[in-house]
């Protein structure tokens, strides 16, 4: 049985997605559209008479933790800023910082409308800091050809360096704004939410609290089951209809059988409208898997355009296609209909290209992080999985990484540095002011914090929520539960800020 290794990465399958039982370096690049911001979001910003942000650069140090001559090298570190709503340093008005994750920071800013939505209420300055080695924040003279060339240069792409970047930049920014006493709150979704959590835990002298949305900080080592990720995807589809689940589950063998028959690939090409340049059963399976995984992740209650343009409740739409009686017993027609929801919601695509998919958000280097410290066992599939049964294999990951980058992962580093085991026991009496939002339809929620740890380290769990939906721009169609999630977040953050002002006034 072919092993499908999915879900390793937040936003791109990258080198692991086409992993077969023989280790291969084949790469299935991530698939994303080039347009990411919804027109209504842009018009909202325009209505407010402002651009969403201005870009600025900070001269950042390459290596915070060593003092050898190389560590002193610097690079231009990009951040985005919006001071439209800020009441300024005189009033110690707050600074809201997004701790950028694995891609172009503009993309994350445009998909973190919550910060723009709440900024007027808090009179907050908005800052979105890019993660080193992504977007325009490239060490080694901004040259990706050098920065991405090998382990010697990529070695500086780590979460701890990124956190130290944020610390250094925020301190400098506050100094330049003479805003020493303005409280800082960090926000982040997905890996950005992990960074926001860790930033609050490691740099409490810089931030008073963190909103960590869909941050699977427990998806390391054996803390979370390696089946969890795909079990949630399975449940998402199964909750729509048993038939939908069964058709998808049965499709993998059918595709493989067809692909191995004479003329079968051409049948697959025709069924799925694959362009004429390239086809392969494994690649087709990866292409479908991508659609199911990302649709589950972004199963938002309103039309969205985070990864691809999607209708509201896209999993329901996929299952609607699959359950459509007009396609009878034609599984491929049903699956094609489902894939079309993800890949062709706008209806403009005439054929699908398996050989190439653009990476407009510059997510590629996550594969380096997933080969070094971000060893998140997510791609096990148990018997009931919607995907073919398979085991999470650390040794397989390690072998791929060795072949690809020449490095050995450090699978225990994240829990050594940031914890995770027995997190309630560790943080019950330590730390404060963290919100963990998770939506239970999000495959990543299995690795999230789903229970309150203390009075001030709290979990907000939305049964119907998907991947960091709370951070998206509010729309008039948002369901009540989503409005309530955001209201609760605003209320908690308000309390943090009030308490900070109280402490400030009392000179503590």
């Amino acid at each position: 049985m072919r092993i499908i290794a999915v879900g390793i990465l937040f936003l791109c399958f990258s080198i692991f997605s086409s992993l077969s039982s023989t280790v291969s370096n084949d790469k299935v690049p991530p698939r994303f559209p080039s347009s990411v911001i919804r027109p209504e979001q842009l018009s909202l910003a325009t209505k407010r008479g402002t651009k969403l942000y201005k870009a600025r650069y900070f001269t950042q140090i390459l290596d915070h933790f060593n003092f050898n001559p190389k560590s002193y090298q610097t690079f231009q570190h990009r951040y985005l800023i919006n001071d439209t709503y800020w009441s300024g340093p005189e009033k110690n008005s707050p600074i809201f910082v997004y701790t950028g994750n694995e891609g172009d920071i503009e993309w994350f800013a445009q998909n973190t409308g919550f910060m723009f939505d709440v900024a007027p209420y808090f009179k907050a300055l908005l800052v979105f800091i890019e993660h080193r080695f992504y977007g325009k924040s490239i060490p080694f003279g901004g040259d990706k050809d050098i920065a991405y060339s090998n382990a010697s240069t990529l070695g500086y792409l780590t979460s701890t360096q990124a956190l130290a970047d944020y610390a250094t930049l925020i301190i400098d920014l506050k100094k330049n704004l003479t805003a020493d006493d303005s409280p800082v709150v960090v926000f982040g979704g997905s890996y950005g939410g992990m960074l926001a959590t860790w930033f609050r835990l490691k740099y409490p002298h810089i931030v008073i609290g963190a909103l960590a949305s869909s941050a699977p900080i427990l998806n390391f080592e054996n803390i979370t089951s390696p089946y969890s990720f795909n079990n949630i995807i399975t449940q998402d589809f199964r909750s729509e209809s048993e038939n939908c689940y069964k058709v998808i589950k049965g499709s993998w063998e059918q595709i493989e059988d067809t692909g191995s028959r004479s003329g079968g690939l051409e049948l697959l090409r025709k069924s799925f409208r694959i362009c004429k340049n390239y086809i392969d059963a494994d690649a087709l399976e990866s292409w479908l898997t991508t659609a199911f995984v990302y649709t589950a992740m972004t199963d938002y209650p309103t039309p969205s355009n985070f990864l691809n343009p999607l209708p509201a409740y896209p999993v329901k739409q996929m299952c609607k296609s699959i359950d459509d009686p007009t396609t009878g017993n034609d599984s491929f027609a049903k699956l094609y209909g489902a894939a079309n929801v993800y890949y062709n919601h706008t209806g403009t695509t005439t054929c699908f290209n398996l050989a190439y998919s653009p990476d407009p958000h510059g997510l590629d280097m996550w594969s380096w992080q997933a080969c070094t410290e971000m060893i998140m066992p997510t791609d096990g599939n148990n018997q009931d999985s919607i995907f073919p049964e398979s085991q999470w294999s650390y040794s397989q990951r390690a072998a791929v990484c060795k072949g690809y980058y020449g490095v050995d992962p450090r699978p225990n580093w994240i829990t050594t540095e940031f914890g995770g085991h027995d997190i309630s026991r560790a943080l019950k009496r330590f730390g404060s002011n963290i919100i963990f939002y998770n939506g239970l339809r999000d495959p990543w929620s299995g690795g999230g914090v789903l229970k309150n740890i203390s009075k001030t380290i709290v979990a907000i769990v939305a049964e119907q929520g998907a991947h960091h939906v709370d951070l998206r721009f509010a729309t008039s169609q948002d369901p009540k539960w989503l409005q309530q999630v955001r209201e609760r977040e605003v209320k908690i953050i308000s309390n943090w800020i009030s308490q900070y002002y109280h402490d400030l006034a009392n000179h503590s």
Copy 2:
């Protein structure tokens, strides 16, 4: 006026002590006797039928924060262990870890009798972990000639790497002992106390609390006055007698005047019994300054042998010599008497060698740390100082470091990484279980935490205490206040452990 730059280092003056108005690389090595453990301590250990500890080695990674090929190099990391009193993993008995500071870990273990004294009560395992680049924990094959040779190798000597070393080692050790649920408490004095504090703050998932003794975590940037260190020394001597203070304060000009006169150096040599190999007025002043600084730091209420063998209350003894009416107006005779308290308490030295002083505890590389991240402004002297008036000069430090190691310090790094500014505000509602002990006769106490921050981050301040006196072996002559300090520490640590067991039993 010559600038005497003192107090920069915890335990050695190193490259800064003879800093004159023209920047110089002259080096006055630290002066220490070779014997450090008191006979009664050793006999105490012998009585218990055990050696103080056994040495073990752990294969430690060179660079925790990068993933380039060089970072994967390893070195043999030494730790000392004593399991005499431990009740073992079955009972989840606690593990007490000393976070080693800038020298041979055996020396610190031998001078941290408190841990041995309380281990039977707590049934604790004792572990003393050496700091990388000191003692026998030398990267680059254990070869100091390579490891200490230049900034490229010394670059890995940083506090953050040391803390990550401790985290990695403790996790591995607990695993090997199958003691996953044994609570860990960290202890440290001086820089070791800073590391203990920071370890609790950064690695709360590994340690449940920290006893930070005489840890000047606030002696960075402008948080603590650069005059504080020498003001406390001044006050120590002045509290004994106004005459004592005046004689010392007047001596510097007198020594310089004498040194610059024809035949003056020979008069100084004779007065202070300096050996015939070398003499210089500046070196003599440094030699005297060392005696005053270290005697103030180790002004213990019982005879001790931490830096040098000393009588009880050595500052009082020095002033007794100075105030001795039999020496009349002969300042040099008085100062010689004072110096003799520090340098020749055993009475066996026939002449003092200004050209050479041994470094039996391997403290030398603190000078690298003081040139990179440990920029602690301690050597200002105001008009009333017992030392000549002088200003703390960052640029002077930077110039010396540039000349010596070719590096630029990062003077803001420690507060960026660990905080310090407005510490009460930052930690009032974050973190728990830290004891800051400080003795107000200790010049480093000015940079310590002297007020309770919260119910669980507490300050224990002993008016009569000196540098981490609480951590020393108890003796029958210990004054009541010192016994009470230790009792309070034991009580607080007991509470941490009880609470931990409570949480463990409740599966939180």
